[in-house]
Amino acid sequence: MIEFRKSIAFRLARIFSVSVILIFFMIFGLYYRFTRRMIEKSTAENAKNLTLGTVMRIEGILRSVQQVPENMAGVLERGPVEKKQLLALIKSAVEKNPELYGCGVSFAPYSFDRKSLYFAPYYYRNKDSLSFAWLGGENYRYFVSDWFQIPKELGKPQWSEPYFDTGGGNILMASYSVPFYRKINGRQTFAGVICADMSLQWLREMVSSIKILDTGYAFLLSRNGNFVMHPDAKLIMNETIFGVAEGLGDKKLREIGRDMIRGKRAFVRIQQLDAGRPGFLYYTPVTSAGWSLAVLFPWDELMADIAHLNQLVLLLGTVGMLLLFGVVVSEARAITGPLTGMADATAEIASGNLDFTMPETLSQDEVGMLSRAFSSMQQSLKSHIARLTETTAAKERIESELNIAREIQLSILPKIFPPFAGMPELDLFAVLKSAREVGGDLYDFFAMDDDHFCFVIGDVSGKGVPASLFMAVTKTLFKATAVKDTPPEVVLGKVNGELSKGNEKAMFVTAFLAILNTKTGVIEFSNGGHNLPVVIRKGGSVEYLRQTGGMVVGAMEGVEFERGTMTLAPGDRFFLYTDGVTEAMDENKVLFSDERLLRELKLLEGLPVKDVLNRLLAMLVAYSKGDQSDDITMMLLEYQGPKSARINPAASRG
């Protein structure tokens, strides 16, 4: 069973999921950025509209208050005014202008007349009626008050910093002071300041009525950066925006504050102003008083909808992802499921169960194709193996028959050594080792009469069953033909005649036939195209028989064979063999060769005949490394002398 994490289904699902997540986040990020920018843009627009109306209303009220002392300055600058007139003027100004809390004309020292250091009549509202006071005195040297000194020094009207009026019930106030001048000796000389006081209660309502989202708000800064209006009463006229910036360690906020009190207008992002929340700040100047009105949009509330949407999109995305994952896994499993079945089936088939039924696949896709191909392969395998089984059985039958044939073949060769217990004149040993199950080599030996011993070796052309049958026929013919007083060339001629008759397959045999006169040691022989035998003289030379070979036997009718003669002395040996000996090959296809044979025979001289052949055979088997290409047949005969003159071979050799 494959681990799930390594399965195709999982890998497919993973690659799909990762790609889709990437695409999703790319789209999501882009969409978020654009939406945010849109919201920012619309917020800026919204802020502008929100503040524009408010600023205009504030300016309107401030201007209407400004007009009162400005008009009065105009009157006072025209020429000296009686005290009574002046008081009436001030009183009516306060009465006619409900925005005014109070109004006074404060003269510079000795400016109203030469006697009065202080001259400052002041009318102010006291509940529903008007009250009057003379300002100035040892405890109130108004010349050094901001409202007097600043317009004097600057030479132009000024709005004071807002302040809490401690006398009149702790109301936030602001004063507008206008300096006025008189011509003295032709010179424009400072004469005093007309000051109009105004409660800022109306401002509180106006600014706090600006509501933004849930917790957004508007605030107003004075020229010094003091909070004139702010939802947090603790800040009002007790804290500047710069103090807040210092407390927060926010340098950017300080810069924003500086821009605000310089009368600039901007839409900026701020990290925090209160409650540590980021937001947008839009500020715009209230020019006549040098104030700055700002609106704060809390970022999270501004983005609440989009944040909500984001959550929804993320949730949907996650659910979608999970669904996609599931669908891909299940679809991939539908594809790979049959594959797993096939893998199991194949394993089963491989283990030998050819009758195992392949899982059925109805699908028309590649997997279906594969499945059907597997099924047909299984069928082919099955029939092939069935055929193979049959063939193997037939082959086995033939092999067993061949084995029987081989046994028969070997059984027709004489296997008793030395051959005749009653023939001490010679010693003989022979071996035949077939290359294949049934060979075409043959040998035979038999006594023709008391003094004549016939021996023959042959090699049938071709191999296998036909060769062995031909060999059996040949052997029988030699035995039947070599009867008493028949010379060897006649035997070969007769056998040749018999074999070549009706020999349509043109099979033939090479044969060497010899007849030993056991009394004299004379050998008469005839060669039918066979390898030349080796004569091993006792204690002397080892050499091939010098005689040219005749035609092969059985190939052509009417062939004449020659007779050769030689004499063996007692102790001499006569070695016959087939070409399987000299043409044995090692792994490099190098022949054993005639020369090697002579050399080896020389080395083995003196050993008993049986040992010589066994040693040579072992040598040949080793030479060809068991990969024998042709039948190997060897026969070694030793003449031991006539019966009468017989000597002990061991003694004669010693």
């Binding site: 600043i150 210092e246 009190i261």
Partner: protein, 318 residues
């Protein structure tokens, strides 16, 4: 039970002994971090630890410390050294029992945009000066031979902020920060510390009427010791000290601004124990006294007593 009773009696007797040494203290302005050391000493029980019962009165424009001392409404109070010397010359027998500030915090602040970058640039400029504290600036202008238009500066700094004056007086621990917190950056300002111009008139010192001092010098010594401990504690635990000051301010109905008080406390540290201070904290140095006395003599013909009869180097026995 018996042990507990004994403990109670012991405590009562200790308090009874302390009750005999009651002191009232008046700072020269309403509560703020300029007086953090006193409030902390009271809050942390340092005065009681010294065996005195101290009441801190609220100072302010309506309760001038010099008048309160003179009239015996307070036993001990803070005054500027120059003001105390003048009072003494006017016949009020005040003695200095400790000089809290070692360096003058008085300074002149100018806008660079007014073209004031060095002392010489004051020539021809308008400078707002506090009426009572003109001694040092005038001496400075005289020293550099400058013609300056002096106008009176009230309590606020608005005249300077609005551009009605090219420069104004300020205390480093107070108005300077107010200016910064009205949106002017330090790099836009030129500052002149009188300390740097050989006019170090150290301000806040502790004063008593001589007769009051003579009646119980040990009580004065205890007050000084506890006060200095209070300052040490305040500088080590600034946040706690500021909390104490802010609470006191709220009780007095004064707008309390934490950052401003923090600034003030930090600056007080540099003024009370400046780096490289030659003497002990709280000591009135003869050179400082003589410098202020001689400037006063030069500018207004004020006659001063000798250092020894002005300053009583009180040290508590421990």
């Amino acid at each position: 039970m018996f042990l507990l009773w004994c403990g109670c009696v012991g405590l009562l007797t200790a308090q009874a002994a302390a009750a005999t040494r009651k002191l009232s203290f008046i700072p020269l302005w309403s509560p703020q971090a300029q007086f953090a050391g006193y409030y902390v000493a009271l809050e942390k029980g340092f005065y009681r630890g010294q065996g005195i019962e101290v009441e801190i009165l609220d100072g302010g424009p309506e309760r001038p410390a010099d008048v309160w001392l003179e009239k015996g409404k307070a036993d001990i109070g803070t005054l500027w050294l120059s003001e105390a010397i003048k009072k003494r010359a006017q016949g009020v027998r005040l003695v200095n029992v400790a000089q809290i500030l070692q360096r003058s915090a008085l300074m002149l602040v100018a806008k660079k945009s007014s073209g004031i970058r060095t002392v010489a640039d004051f020539d021809g400029k308008t400078v707002a000066l506090w009426e009572s504290f003109q001694l040092q600036p005038l001496a400075l202008f005289k020293k550099y031979n400058l013609r300056v238009k002096v106008i009176t500066q009230a309590h606020s700094i608005n005249l300077f902020l609005r551009g009605g004056a090219d420069a104004a007086s300020a205390m480093f621990y107070n108005e300077y920060h107010t200016i910064i917190n009205a949106g002017l950056n330090p790099e836009e300002l030129t500052t002149f510390f009188f300390y740097d111009y050989g006019l170090n008139f150290p301000e806040d010192g502790l004063y008593m009427l001589e007769k009051n001092y003579n009646r119980d010098p040990a009580a004065a010594a205890a007050f000084v010791k506890a006060t200095l401990d209070g300052w040490t504690y305040a500088f080590k635990h600034k946040n706690e000290a500021i909390e104490i000051v802010l609470r006191r301010m709220r009780e007095a109905g004064i707008p309390a601004n934490r950052m401003h008080q923090k600034w003030m406390l930090e600056k007080m540290q540099g003024l009370i124990s400046p780096k490289g201070l030659a003497t002990r904290v709280g000591e009135l140095q003869r050179a400082d006294y003589e410098r202020v006395a001689s400037e006063l003599a030069k500018s207004g013909g004020w006659k001063s007593v000798d250092y020894g009869s002005f300053y009583r180097a009180v040290r508590s026995s421990d």
